[in-house]
Structure formats: C-alpha cells, structure tokens
Symmetry: none
Subunit: 201 residues, 4 copies
C-alpha cells in the first residue's frame, strides 16, 4: 500500500493523461484531439479527465507551460556564472535549444500546433515570448553597453528569440532528425555575437 505503488497503471493518472494528451495533440492538433481520444489513450474513463483538468484547454495549457517553464528555468540556470554577456546569451540559447531537443513531440505541439488553437494559448505564448525577450534583452543591452538605443535592443532580442524559435520549428517540421539541434546553438551564437557588434557605431 506504499504511496505511488499499487497496480501498474496507477502511476499518477494525471501524469498519464498529460502524456496521452501530448501524444494525441501532437499527432492531430488541438482541435481534432477529442477528450475521448485522450482518455482512451490514457486508459481511463472519459469523466476521469475532469478530475485532473477543469477543461480541455487546461491540458493544452499545461503542455505549453511544461515546455516553457523548462526552457525559462534552463536558461536562467545556464546563465548563472557566465563571465560575459556574450557568454550568457550563448549559454541561454544552448540551454533553451537543449530543452526543445529533449522532447520533439512537445516542441511540435507548442511551436507548431498550439499557437492559433485557443485564445488562452495565445495569451500564454505572448507572456512567454515576452519573458524570453526580457531575458535576452538584458544581455543585449549589456553587450551594447550604453551605446545602443532601447529600440535596437528590443528588436535584437526579438530577433534572437524568433531565430531560435524558427530553428526549432524547422527541425520539428523535418521530423526532428537526431542531433539536429546540437550545432545550432554554436552557429546562432556566432551569428548574433558578431551581429550585435554591428548595432553600435
């Protein structure tokens, strides 16, 4: 009767449902994934879904959150102790890319399938993009010193975030070939490391 033990399949129904939702939604997209599909895949009854999530949209949101929280945490942790802003930026990108690379299905759902699927997702996506931009902006501003204007720093940080996102998106679209994101951090770092220098006179 030890907690967490018991019959096989009991291993946290909430977790099972979340995983099932990821699988189904990554395959079919959010709208086409029915709650029934998800509970069937999870091996639970339809009503059980609502014991763990208040609505269908909530699982989608949980998936988006899971990925982005991991990405933000990884970035925040990776930059600690970096000697220079350039290094901070590079480590952040590397960390974020690693998080995306770890779970292609989740990345596929979050980057490709979730965006226009539900108003609540858009809101969350906006928040996350803003948070990421803010993170990056600090480094960019530091790199530029006092020399660049705020607008340039804004645009540059959006560029970084967008670039990383598109690289992951392309990788996911190609079916997430193995090892396909390992070199991306390096290239992007050099690209932006050098490029940001171009923004100061």
């Amino acid at each position: 009767m030890a907690r967490g033990g018991g019959a096989r399949g009991t291993a946290d129904r909430g977790e099972r449902i979340l995983r099932a939702a990821l699988e189904v939604m990554a395959e079919r997209g959010y709208a086409a994934a029915t709650v029934r599909d998800i509970t069937d895949r999870a091996g639970v009854a339809a009503g059980t879904f609502y014991l763990y999530y208040p609505a269908k949209e909530a699982v989608g949101l949980a998936l988006v959150d899971a990925l982005y929280r991991a990405a933000l945490a990884a970035a925040a942790s990776a930059r600690r102790g970096a000697p220079s802003p350039e290094e901070k930026l590079m480590r952040s990108m590397r960390a974020v890319l690693a998080v995306f690379a770890r779970d292609p299905a989740l990345s596929r759902f979050v980057l490709l399938l979730a965006p226009g699927a539900h108003p609540a997702f858009d809101e969350r996506l906006r928040e996350v993009h803003e948070a990421l931009c803010t993170l990056v902006r600090d480094d960019v501003a530091e790199i530029l010193g006092g020399r660049g204007d705020g607008r340039s720093a804004d645009l540059a940080s959006q560029a970084v975030v967008g670039a990383v996102g598109e690289v992951v998106t392309s990788w996911v679209r190609q079916g997430a070939p193995a090892g396909g994101l390992d070199d991306a951090a390096e290239v992007l770092s050099r690209l932006f490391g050098r490029g940001l220098g171009g923004l100061v006179p």
Copy 2:
C-alpha cells in the same frame, strides 16, 4: 435579392466576404469565427458564403495566401537589381516588413491565429517558410562565399526568417503602433549583415 449593379455594398461579394472573414477571424481566431459571423458582417446570406468559398477553411487559406503571396512577390521584386547580396537581403527584409506593416489585422491572423488552427494552414505555412528560407539562403550563401558550410547557411536563413517573423509578431501583439516597423528593417539588416560575417573564419 440580387440588388443588381451600383447599389452600395455590391463591391464584389467575394471581396466583401474575404474582408469580413479577416475582420472576424482576426478578432476571434479561426475556430471561434463562425461562417454565420462572417456573412453577417459581410451583409450577405449564409449560403452566399459557399458561392465564393467551398468551405470555411478555404477563406482562412485565402487569407494566408494573400499575405504570403504579397510578401514573396515583394521580396522577389525588391531584390532585383541590388548590387550586393547584403543589399539583396536588406531590401528583401525591408520589402517583407513593409508588406506585413501594410495590414496589421491580416498579419495578426496569419502569424498569430492561423498556425495550429487547421492542418491545411500548417501545410501552407510550412511551404511559405521554406520558400522564404530558400530565398534568404541564396543571399546568405553568396555572402558567405564558398567559406561557410551548408548547415550554417541553413541555420542562418532560418534565423533571418524567424527574426523577421518575431519582430512582426511582437509589433502586432502590441497593437501595431504606427510606424513601428519602419526602423526594424534597418536594425535587422545591420544585425545580420555584421553577424553573417561571424560565420566565416
């Protein structure tokens, strides 16, 4: 009632429906926009919709196409006669940004609301991103000369496309403040112009 020739509002029902669809979908998103909403806004009967579009999905696709065809055409036209690959890239970005800036609602729908809303949209989006990346990749490869490897060029072109997309997305999310994209091309050009140099030893 076929109100005949010159009456107000006769300006091509197909066009009116497209505009109405853009308005409604940009407000509510694709899924929440009902055909009825669209035809009400357009001032036509429900069935009239299907005289111009075979299905709801078709208007969404038409909107996506409209924006992306314009962007691709503008880019292709802008780069003609540019003296250098750097210049080609810069003019392309400027042209594409101008197209997005011209119609914030359309940009909002295409960049924010359409992805993930329907499988057909995803397919189209993939095609367009590929086309844009190809366009950019030519310039990037030329800038790099024979020195950069193919993978770097791929990643760099994805970075450019993603950066432009994110800049527009951010602008749209802020409510598309007037003149907000005019300076972006300049900054991005300098950023990537200098940055690409960093990819060669």
Copy 3:
C-alpha cells in the same frame, strides 16, 4: 422559324428537362438528385427548371405518371375486343409488361426509387395500384362468375398486380437484360389462368 425547328437543343426544353430528370433520378434516386444536377444534364439554367415544373417533386410525379398512364392506357386498349375474361387478363398483363420493358430506366425509377421518396409519390402510387387492381378485378370477377366472393376477387387482383410488379422489379434489379420480359406474360397468364380456377369450388 418553323415551329419545333430552330437551333438544336431547343427541342422542347420541358422535354429535355424531363429526360434529364429521369436519367439523374434513375441513377442517384430522388433525394440525391438535385435540381442543379438535372438542369446541368439538360443543358439549361437552374431557374429554367421552374418555368416548366413548379417544384422538384413535380418532375418525379410527372415521371411516375408517364409510366403509369402508359401502362393503364396500354392495358385498357389491349383488352378491347378480347373474347374472354381470361384473354383480357392475359392481354392486359402482356401490354403492361411491354410498357415497362420499353423503358427500363423509367421502370427502375418508378418501381424501385420513387416509392418512399416523397409523400406525393405514395399517394399517386396508391391511386395507380388501385386503378390497376380495379381493372384486373373485373376480369377476375368475370372469370369467377358469381361463384367467388368479393374478398377472394380483391385478393386475387392484388396478387396479379403484385406479381407483375415484382417480376418487373426483379428484371430491373438484374440490370434489365434484353428480352427479359417477353416470356413473363406467358408464364404469368398460365399461372393465374389456372390458379383462378382454384378459387371456385
């Protein structure tokens, strides 16, 4: 400018529409045949249909009528001058079968596809079946002399009408093989000729 002349295709639009309706309805059934299908097949505009028929149901009714009027007329004409009631019955069956055999598509529609397709058809079908039964009943009563009761004559005439109908139906279902109804009249005549004798003590 002679009447009936003019451009090819003018040959009575009403007739063309009727023929087109027969083709389409015999292929797809009444419900699945749209007015648009019919006018397309007839080579006229959608609205033209309503210049010749007040409603879709009217063409179906016209088709049912066409076949049954021909059958009734043929039967009535065939029995004139027959020397005996047996002969009258036989000639009537032969005549009716010949009418059905002449136009398999029409028979297919009237016997197979029309029955449950529209309430108005049912009413018409009822009338026709009654008329045919009445016709047959006269002969049956005459054959039976005063000996059979009315109920027997009713049932026998229904049997004859039903038998003829089922024979045609089976033939139509088999794809209306050539010459497949020529021998039916002979067999049915012998069957009922002898059989009716069994109804009197």
Copy 4:
C-alpha cells in the same frame, strides 16, 4: 441526467429510440422524419440517438431488418415438417403474412416508405426479396417436378413474393383493418396451388 435504475421510461433507451423512430417514420416517411423528432418522441436528448445508432440511416435499416428477419425466420420455421411442397409454400405464406399482420406500422414503413428512401434500404430490400424468392423457388421447383423450366420457376416465385407483398401493402394502405390478413393466406394458397399446376404440360 442518467436517472439510474427503475424510473419510468428507462426500458432501454435503445429500444425506446427504435420504437420512436418507427412511429415517426411510419407517420412522416424517412426523409421527413428528423432525428430531433425521434429523440423528442423517445424522450431523450438529441445526442443520445448517436449513442445507439451511428447515423439516421441506421435506425431505418434496423427497422427494415427487424421485419424481414422476423419474416424469414417465421417462414423458415413454418415450413419445417410440412408434408408436401404445396403445404410448405402455404405455411410459408401464412407465416410471413402473420408477421406483417403483427405490426402494421412497421409493415407500412418497410413496404411503403422505406423503398426509395435511402440507397442502403434498396440494397437490403434487394437482398431480402432474393432470399424470399429463393425460399419460394425451392417449393415451386419441387411442385413442378422436373417438368417446368428454370425460368418459369423464377417467374412463379417472383409472382408469389410480389403477390404477398402487394396484399400486405393494400391492407396497410387501407389502414390495416383488424383481421384483414387472416384469410389472405388461404386464398393465395389456393390461387398459387392450383396455378402452379398450370405451368406444367
């Protein structure tokens, strides 16, 4: 609301829906009977219909099947142990007529309203008519001994099936007067018993 066990009206919703469908379809015909009509009559919610039948067409088919399966089973059972082919034929007709007589509304739907209402019905009707003809044909062939040719036996069996069908149809059209089919088997038996003798030389 899942009212649980013993409440009035719980008698298997599937059964209630089938009965309601029969009532509504026998009144209005298949096309005019809406799923909403049926569920209203059955006292269940609209969506409940689809818990028991995959589509509207399926209830119609279930009704057709119910009647014809009963008829075929009754005929097959009735003929067992009959001393002569004439007797087999007579008992079969009597059994089939009894089945139709038992449920006038169902007979009305199956014989009058279902044919032509949906392609799937036609297919089923064809199968059943074939099965009945085959049944009858065995007896007819036996009665004819080796003397009649195959074509005659085919036609005769079609005649029997058509006759029975038309008798029931007429009865249904007259509003299914009580006891109106009891004597029919007797008359038809004598008619065909004697008549089949006329097919051999």
